[in-house]
Symmetry: C2
Subunit: 648 residues, 2 copies
């Protein structure tokens, strides 16, 4: 097989996947935790650090406030958990914010949710990768100058893996996920045990300690720390989006999975905050050469830099990269839903040859890559943009659920539903307050960008929808005109642009004669400069002898040959003139002889004038023109090869 | 009119140009000097400098040898002039090296000449622009760090101007050309006058003087200086390439123009060398911040940095940029000749809507830009690559002329022809020796790259030629098969892929019924997942009522609707299966309903599955398949609009 870009792509992404092979493997609880909970769990590695970064500006006294701040965040997390438990039960197929908002808040709410989620997913990829690379450069400081390149490399790898399709993700990811939980759990348990031993702490490797205070310890500072810390909650909604992926009884399994994820995350957040306070750990600047992430400092303080330290850092890196990967599952699924509602191009809803939604994957990778480059792969710079999308989606989802219960309550009032309405309503209220805090606290630092992006995305989605509606308005048939109309049934006029008399031209004429008795070949002179009169005369006599005479013998109306000139060297203009002359009601078929090239090499060498001509005829020819390509294939292939190429 | 890339291009390059407007303006001598001689004349500003750069390595003693070295080069120039005078007379239409080599040395020689000339033209652009920017940064040293950006900016400007087409170049360029000759002439005359005054010289601004010697003053060094200085002769052949552009009596006018150009150039070269020696001027390093070109030092030494200095530098910059422009005329003309011989893609021979050979212009701009970036826009680094192409072309042209006279001599021996044979033979010998010197002296410094490129280009040209020959072998008709063959004349089978019943589908079916009585519509299920049985039943009943029944009433054979599944979501595979089933001898027309989008926006939103499907059908369908596109145009336009768009 000849080399081509298609074959390269094929060898990178693998053979096509049949519809029959579509995933039927359902999740159990132990595979559900890695498959659905990874995004949430991995937040433990950047959430507390984000809060510490802000608090550290007030020196050691500020850093010591991390425990109460994380306490509030954990409380919010529990409220959110209770709220989503209800969503899981009410939407046992797919309770993503987009669906819940669409069904309960109308198109305005659903588009807002879609925009928020899209931005959130893309930021999850960027933050996950940059935090993972941050962990890596903590352990291997010499890699620090190459932060952006490592980020882009990991992004490319994840993108490629996802273009191949990730079918067995749950099982494959269980290893890193449980390793991460285990290692971090050991660090927390041993660390806490040491602090409880009483007496002064002797860290194995002392953390560098807080930088001197540069800001006063105000309420505003604490609010900003809370807003940054809220990034620890992102990803909690993932399970409610994919209840349908669980084995029956799915609601119970999904709820159990959610309980495990939330409680593990809460424990980790609490433990990290507690230990950071007792070991005097502060956040450091990722742009500086001696950067150490909070988890790296923590593990160093408890155990030193032994093999266990490197195991933990490896697990953190793996989990953060895989958390980026969960967005590669969630984003295409969301885009596919939005595209089915015709708010995104149809391409986003079409699975490719690997049954993968590759358009969304490439789109997402491009945007996440742009973010990583724009923000130099520094987690701390991405954080202010991040939590807004997530909390907006939380709020819309909870508000949607509250509307859902209110409607149910109106239909058949009951105490149980009243409680459910209260839980979701309270959840919506809390996340709204958190959203407001985040907006205000982070606006100047970067949240404005997200706030600006959301209406832009919504406008784009609306624009796309309006376009599709216009197309459908043009295409859908009224009841009265649904049957075919044979009143204008008449042989078409067939036009053939003719350059020289060769096999291709002969084939085109033969084909044209099969279609109609009214065939006209058009030779356009001076396309490349003045044609000789000789040339024209020879073509004319060839035509009479080789075409008109045989047709007459077969008792077919002889096709005509006409000449026209084109002072501007356009092939389309003389053809369009003929089409115009044929009259408004005459159907015209233009037969274009076309040389088909198999190889990239050959395709580069030919002029593709036919392609341009075809586009012009279709665009300007009006409703009565059709264009027929009669191919002459160099190195011909058979239909069997084509079927094999599509399904091999 | 909607905004589109096409309309942007149109407004940048202007309206189309008719064949009738093609240039009829012929050159006089005074316009011929700027139009044809610019490339040669501008060499004065980098040729002596290139020799001085090498000689300077041996300190002041080396720099003082510039006069004898330039003397040899001037002698060679005069030999070349005598030689080309004969070419002009023998080929009064177009005596470029490619033509002379093709007619006298066969395809091997012509391809060698073509490759050498192409490389020479591209290097002329790069060297001209970089030397011009060198002059600019001599006058305004603060611009020096932006050398590459200035180079690329000027290249972009020249490219754009040439894409618009340069019809009145001779007249427009007379200004800068004669200003350049005048200013440099004044500097030389005044400078020489001062040296003849006797006594010590007092330069207005003393040149920085030679750097200390780092190399011994060997014969090898002098050879290398000669090789570098030979770049001063590039461009001399231009007049022989375009004798046809002169007014009658064209041979006389061309010869007079050549005499003026060669004698002016020789005077400038001699004058610069003489003054450089007397004023102790050496070449400086263009990468250093205090760089001054040789001409800048010279003008400074004679007149100081007054208005005249800036006028001269401006003229140098203009002339060098315009000399790059002459390549933009020569290269497309050469490519067009080569493409007409089918050694380059046909596109290179086709004038575009502005009657400009835009393919070659863009190709050349891309390569020259790459060279400028790769060599940081430093003239000194480009020089070693440069002279090879020019001298190879000189040699081939002279050798070709010698062959020409030898043949004439064999036909009718005469003394005059014997002299001509001697002149061209001697010219060929001299340029061969110079070429050998350049090759040896410059090989390590960069000439190896040119030596490597030439066979690569030749291989590419041969590959392209072989491809076109294969295509023609496939397309050209044998005498016995020239008439059309109507034995297989039979109604085609018409296939229509059918998605849903809408206006587009209805139009496709109506069109299909006009072509044949054997119409089959194919609905492929599970393209996006499992289709409901309901869907299929509804489509079937719609078909019977809306299509089959009306056709029967009109006494047409009712078209059939069939269903097929495609587990790999390929639309092409089921169609190809049907085509295969139809049998080897049955002609098949596949009717593709196609939504045509006018706007870029709309084109982005649609999936272009038809385009891919069409390509697959043409490629794999075999010789009996034709593909007909039935368009549905959103926001329909008329043929008049199309004609206007092509010829406005």
């Amino acid at each position: 097989m000849a080399f081509s870009p298609a074959s390269l792509l094929r060898s990178l992404t693998g053979p096509p996947v049949s519809n029959r092979e579509a995933g039927t493997q359902k999740l159990k609880v132990w595979t559900g935790v890695p498959a659905m909970g990874l995004d949430a769990l991995s937040s433990a590695s950047y959430g507390p650090e984000a809060a510490l970064t802000i608090l550290g500006a007030a020196g050691a006294a500020g850093s010591h406030l991390v425990t109460p701040v994380m306490g509030v965040i954990i409380a919010l997390l529990v409220i959110l958990w209770m709220s989503y438990r209800q969503t899981v039960a009410a939407y046992p197929n797919n309770g993503g914010s987009y669906i819940v908002a669409r069904e309960n808040l109308g198109p305005g709410g659903s588009l807002l949710a879609a925009a928020a989620l899209m931005i959130d997913y893309i930021l999850t990829v960027a933050v996950g990768i940059s935090a993972g690379v941050g962990a890596l450069t903590s352990a291997l400081p010499s890699l620090q100058p190459y932060t952006v390149w490592f980020c882009l490399g990991i992004l490319a790898l994840i993108t490629l893996v996802n273009l191949r399709g990730t079918r067995e993700s749950g099982v494959a990811w269980a290893g890193p996920t449980y390793l991460f939980i285990l290692c971090l759990g050991i660090v927390i348990v041993c660390g806490v045990a040491k602090t409880l031993g009483g007496g002064p702490l002797h860290p194995a490797i002392a953390p560098p300690g807080a930088a001197p205070a540069v800001e006063a310890l105000t309420g505003w500072l604490i609010l900003r720390a809370f807003a940054s810390g809220c990034t620890a909650m992102t990803g909690v909604e993932a399970i409610s989006n994919g209840v349908g992926s669980f084995e029956e009884p799915r609601v119970e399994r999904a709820r159990l999975t959610m309980a495990i994820v939330v409680l593990t995350l809460a424990t980790m957040l609490g433990g990290i905050a507690y230990l950071a306070q007792h070991y005097d750990i502060s956040a450091m600047d990722q742009t500086k050469p001696d950067y150490q992430s909070v988890i790296s400092q923590l593990a160093g303080a408890v155990f030193g830099h032994g093999w266990f330290y490197y195991l933990l850092i490896g697990a953190v890196l793996a989990v953060l990269c895989l958390s980026a990967n969960t967005s590669f599952v969630g984003f295409p699924r969301l885009c596919s839903l939005v595209a089915q509602d015709k708010y995104l191009p149809h391409t986003f809803a079409l699975p490719d040859r690997r049954l993968v939604l590759s358009a969304s994957i490439l789109f997402m990778a491009a945007f996440a890559g742009a973010l990583l480059v724009a923000f130099d792969g520094i987690t701390d710079r991405l954080i202010p943009l991040y939590a807004i999308g997530a909390f907006l989606a939380f709020t819309l989802s909870q508000a949607g659920m509250a509307m859902h219960w209110r409607r149910e309550l109106r239909e058949k009032p009951s105490g149980a539903i009243r409680v459910k309405l209260f839980v979701n309503g309270f959840g919506a209220l809390c996340t709204t307050i958190a959203l407001a805090v985040i907006l205000v606290a982070k606006f100047v630092e970067g949240a404005w960008l997200t706030v600006l992006m959301i209406p832009c995305v919504i406008l784009l989605l609306r624009g796309i929808h309006a376009h599709y509606r216009r197309v459908d308005d043009g295409l859908l048939l009224q009841q009265s005109e649904r049957a075919i109309d044979l009143r204008k049934h008449r042989e078409p006029l067939v036009l053939i642009p003719l350059d020289r008399w060769d096999r291709l031209a002969r084939k085109a004429v033969e084909q044209a004669l099969r279609l109609s008795g009214d065939v006209v070949a058009l030779h356009v002179t001076s396309l490349q400069g003045p044609d000789g009169d000789d040339e024209r005369k020879r073509l004319k006599s060839d035509w009479d002898e080789l075409v008109a005479e045989p047709a007459r013998r077969k008792e077919l109306p002889p096709p005509k040959l006409v000449f026209d000139s084109s002072p501007y060297r356009s092939m389309a203009a003389p053809l369009l003139r003929r089409i115009e002359k044929a009259g408004k009601n005459r159907s015209v078929v233009v037969v274009l002889p076309e040389l088909v090239e198999r190889s990239v090499w050959g395709a580069l060498l030919h002029t593709h004038r036919e392609r341009r001509l075809r586009a012009q005829l279709l665009r300007y020819g009006g409703p009565r023109v059709a264009v027929m390509c009669v191919p002459w294939v160099i190195d011909e292939e058979t239909p069997e090869t084509g079927i094999a190429a599509e399904e091999e």
